[in-house]
C-alpha cells in the first residue's frame, strides 16, 4: 500500500537536530531520518528505544569463549596431545594459560562479526537489496527527515520550512 509522506532536506546536522526536537515537540511522528553519517544524540532526540545490540554482543562473546574452550580442548587435549616445551597436554586446566589468547581472540571475533551481521539483518540490509533512501543526496551532504502525512500537508510543510529545511516535498511511498 502506498502512503503519503512529506520529506524535508537539511544541510546541517545541528539544524537537523533542532528540527527533530521541534517537530517532536509539536507531537508529529517522525518516520525516519536519513543522514550521511551517524549524528550523535539523534536517536535520543527522535525518541527511539535503546538499542539491544549490546546484549547480543555479550551473548555472542560468551558463545565465542565457549567455542574456543571446546575447540582447544578437542584439538590440543583429546584428539592430538603433544608435549610442547615440557608441558604435556594432558589437562585443559594446566595448559589453560596457553589457550587464553585463543579464548580472547575468538570471544572478540564472535562478538564483532556476529554483532555486525545482526545489525545488518536488524536494519533489513542484505546483498542485492534495493536501496531504501529516498534521495541520493543523503549519502553525500544532506539530511532528510520523513514524516507521515495525515491530511495535514500544508501545516507540516509550513512547520518544516520554519525549522530551516532547504527543500520540502510530498511523495507517495511504497511500504
Amino acid at each position: 500500500m502506498a502512503s503519503k509522506v512529506i520529506q524535508a532536506l537539511y544541510n546541517d546536522d545541528d539544524v537537523l537536530m533542532h528540527a527533530v526536537k521541534k517537530v517532536r515537540a509539536e507531537h508529529h511522528h517522525i518516520e525516519e531520518v536519513y543522514t550521511p553519517f551517524p549524528v550523535h544524540g539523534l536517536d535520543k532526540a527522535m525518541g527511539l528505544a535503546d538499542t539491544r545490540i549490546a546484549i547480543t554482543s555479550f551473548l555472542y562473546g560468551c558463545l565465542g569463549l565457549t567455542v574456543a574452550v571446546v575447540m582447544m580442548n578437542f584439538i590440543m587435549i583429546e584428539d592430538w596431545p603433544q608435549d610442547i616445551g615440557g608441558k604435556p597436554s594432558f589437562s585443559y586446566l594446566e595448559n589453560m594459560p596457553a589457550f587464553v589468547p585463543i579464548m580472547f581472540e575468538l570471544t572478540v571475533f564472535f562478538a564483532a562479526h556476529l554483532m555486525v551481521i545482526t545489525f545488518y539483518l536488524r536494519s533489513r540490509m542484505w546483498p542485492f537489496k534495493k536501496a531504501e533512501n529516498p534521495d541520493k543526496r543523503t549519502t553525500d551532504d544532506h539530511f532528510l527527515m520523513e514524516l507521515g502525512v495525515h491530511d495535514n500537508e500544508n501545516e507540516l510543510a509550513d512547520l518544516l520550512w520554519e525549522t530551516g529545511a532547504v527543500e520540502v516535498k510530498v511523495t507517495e511511498k511504497e511500504s
Binding site: G41, A54, G85, K87, P97, V100
Partner: protein, 444 residues
C-alpha cells in the same frame, strides 16, 4: 570554593593517628634477635615452626645474613638469620607498599591530567581542579617515598638486598649490574624522577590558575606544550622508576614490560580516585556542571584500563610460564606457593569484578556503583603492589596485620587530608579554560 568538611578532616586525622599507632606497634614487635624471630614463628605457626627451629640449630650461624638474603629461597643455610631479616623487613615493607601505593595514585592522576592537557580534550576541563587537587599529594608522597629509599640506602632495613656491599661481594650477577644498580646512582635517579614530576605538577598548576585570571590563552598554550614534554619525560622515568623502586627488590629477576605493568596499575588507580573524589564532591553539592556523562567517561576508563592492566599482567605471566626458564620462573613460583590468596584475589578484584560490574553502560552512570567498584579496584591494586614487594622482602612471613593496615590508614588519611586541603585552595571550576564550554555541554 570548596570548604573542607570537619567530618572528613576529623576522619583523616583519626586514620592517620590509628595508622601511626599500628605502624609503631608493627615496628616495636619486629624481632631484633634470631631467638626472638624463632620464638615468633614457633608461636605463630605450630607444626611448621617446630621444623624451622630444628633446622636452625643444625645450620648454625656462620654466614652473614646478607649473602643469604641475596640467594633468597634456594638456600637454607643460616635459615633463621634469613627469617629474622624477613620479620624485620615486614613493618618496613608494609610502610613502603602503602607509601608507594598512595604516591602512585597521585602520579597516575598526573599522567592522566597531562594526557588531557596534551590532547586538548574537550570533555575534561571541568575535572581539572579535582585532578590538580589529587596531584598535590605528589609532593609529600614523593618526599616520603624518597626518605624511605634513603633509609634503605642507609641500611635501616633490608628490602633492597643489592644495597648491601656484603651481598654484592658474593654475587656475580649483582656485580655485573652494579654500574646501574648502586646506592648513589639509585638516589640520584630517584631525585631526578621526583624532581621532574613535582616540577611539572607545580608549574602546570601555576599556569592553570594563571589562565583563570589572564585575558588571552597564552597560559593554556604553554601548559599544553609542557604537558606534551612531560609525557615524554614521564614515560621514560616511570619505567625506570618501576625497575628501581620495585623490580630491584628481586635483583636477579627482570621483566621487560614491568614498567608498563606498573603504569597500568597506577593509571587505573588514579582514574578511579578521580571518579571517587568527583562523585564525593558532587554529592556535597559542588561541581554542579559535572554531569553523569563525565562520570560515565571516567567509569569507561576504569573499565578499559582494568582490562589493559590484565592484558599486561597476563602478557608478563604467560611468557614466563611458557618459557619456564628457572631464573625467571622463580618469581611466579614464590607467588603461587606462598601468596595464593593475595595473588589470585588480586586477579578477581582487578579483572573479573570490574569486567562484569562495569560492562553495562548504564551502571557506569550510577554514582554509588562507581564508588563501590572503585573501592574494590583500589584494594585490588594495593594488593598488586603488595604482591610485587612482599615476596622478595618478607617471603612466606607475610600477613595483612597491624603494620599493613596501619600503613593503609596512615597514608590514606594523609592522602585525603592533603588532597582535600588542596581542593580548598582554588575554585573548583576553571574560569577561562577555552574548552570549558565544551566540557559543560559534554553529553553522551
Amino acid at each position: 570554593m570548596y570548604t573542607f568538611s570537619n567530618k572528613l578532616r576529623l576522619g583523616s586525622f583519626i586514620a592517620m593517628g590509628l595508622g601511626f599507632i599500628f605502624l609503631v606497634i608493627g615496628f616495636m614487635s619486629a624481632p631484633s634477635t634470631v631467638e626472638e624471630a624463632k620464638a615468633m614463628v614457633a608461636v605463630h605457626d605450630d607444626g611448621h615452626g617446630g621444623g624451622h627451629a630444628e633446622a636452625a640449630e643444625s645450620h648454625g650461624e656462620e654466614q652473614g645474613h646478607g649473602a643469604e638474603a641475596a640467594h633468597g629461597e634456594e638456600h637454607d643455610t643460616s635459615h633463621d638469620e634469613h627469617l629474622l631479616s624477613q620479620l624485620q623487613n615486614r613493618p618496613w615493607s608494609a610502610l613502603y607498599v602503602a607509601a608507594f601505593f598512595f604516591f602512585m595514585i597521585a602520579l597516575g592522576v598526573l599522567a592522566f591530567y597531562a594526557i588531557q592537557r596534551a590532547a586538548q580534550a574537550g570533555w575534561s576541563p571541568l575535572l581539572f581542579r579535582v585532578m590538580e587537587g589529587i596531584t598535590a599529594y605528589l609532593v609529600p608522597g614523593g618526599i616520603i617515598v624518597f626518605v624511605i629509599l634513603l633509609l634503605s640506602v642507609l641500611h635501616m632495613n633490608h628490602m633492597f638486598v643489592w644495597m648491601d656491599p656484603e651481598v654484592v661481594a658474593h654475587d656475580e650477577l649483582l656485580q655485573g649490574k652494579a654500574g646501574y644498580l648502586n646506592p648513589t646512582f639509585f638516589l640520584i635517579r630517584a631525585a631526578i624522577f621526583l624532581g621532574g614530576w613535582i616540577f611539572y605538577r607545580q608549574y602546570s598548576r601555576k599556569l592553570s590558575l594563571a589562565q583563570d585570571e589572564s585575558d588571552d590563552d597564552s597560559n593554556f598554550i604553554k601548559n599544553f606544550r609542557w604537558s606534551a614534554g612531560f609525557l615524554v619525560f614521564y614515560l621514560v622515568t616511570e619505567s625506570m622508576m618501576s625497575w628501581d623502586w620495585i623490580m630491584s627488590v628481586d635483583p636477579h629477576w627482570f621483566s621487560t614490560l614491568f614498567g608498563w605493568y606498573v603504569f597500568a596499575s597506577m593509571f587505573v588507580s588514579g582514574i578511579t580516585v578521580i571518579a571517587m573524589v568527583t562523585v564525593y564532591l558532587k554529592s556535597k553539592g559542588y561541581l554542579e556542571q559535572v554531569n553523569n556523562s563525565h562520570i560515565h567517561d571516567l567509569a569507561k576508563f576504569m573499565f578499559g584500563i582494568s582490562i589493559f592492566w590484565t592484558y599486561l599482567w597476563f602478557a608478563q605471566f604467560m611468557l614466563i610460564w611458557y618459557a619456564d626458564i628457572p631464573e625467571e620462573v622463580t618469581y611466579y613460583v614464590a607467588r603461587f606457593q606462598d601468596y595464593k590468596l593475595p595473588f589470585f584475589g588480586m586477579l578477581v578484584m582487578n579483572f573479573v569484578f570490574p569486567l562484569l560490574v562495569l560492562m553495562n553502560s548504564d551502571y557506569k552512570r550510577i554514582n554509588w556503583f562507581v564508588i563501590m567498584t572503585g573501592i574494590v579496584v583500589l584494594f585490588g591494586h594495593y594488593l598488586d603492589i603488595f604482591n610485587m614487594i612482599m615476596p622478595a622482602t618478607v617471603g612466606d612471613q607475610w600477613f595483612i596485620g597491624l603494620p599493613e593496615i596501619g600503613g593503609i590508614l596512615f597514608f590514606g588519611g594523609l592522602f585525603v587530608f592533603w588532597v582535600f586541603t588542596a581542593l580548598t585552595k582554588a575554585p573548583l571550576q576553571p574560569k577561562r579554560n577555552p574548552f570549558i564550554e565544551e566540557s559543560r555541554h559534554f553529553h553522551y
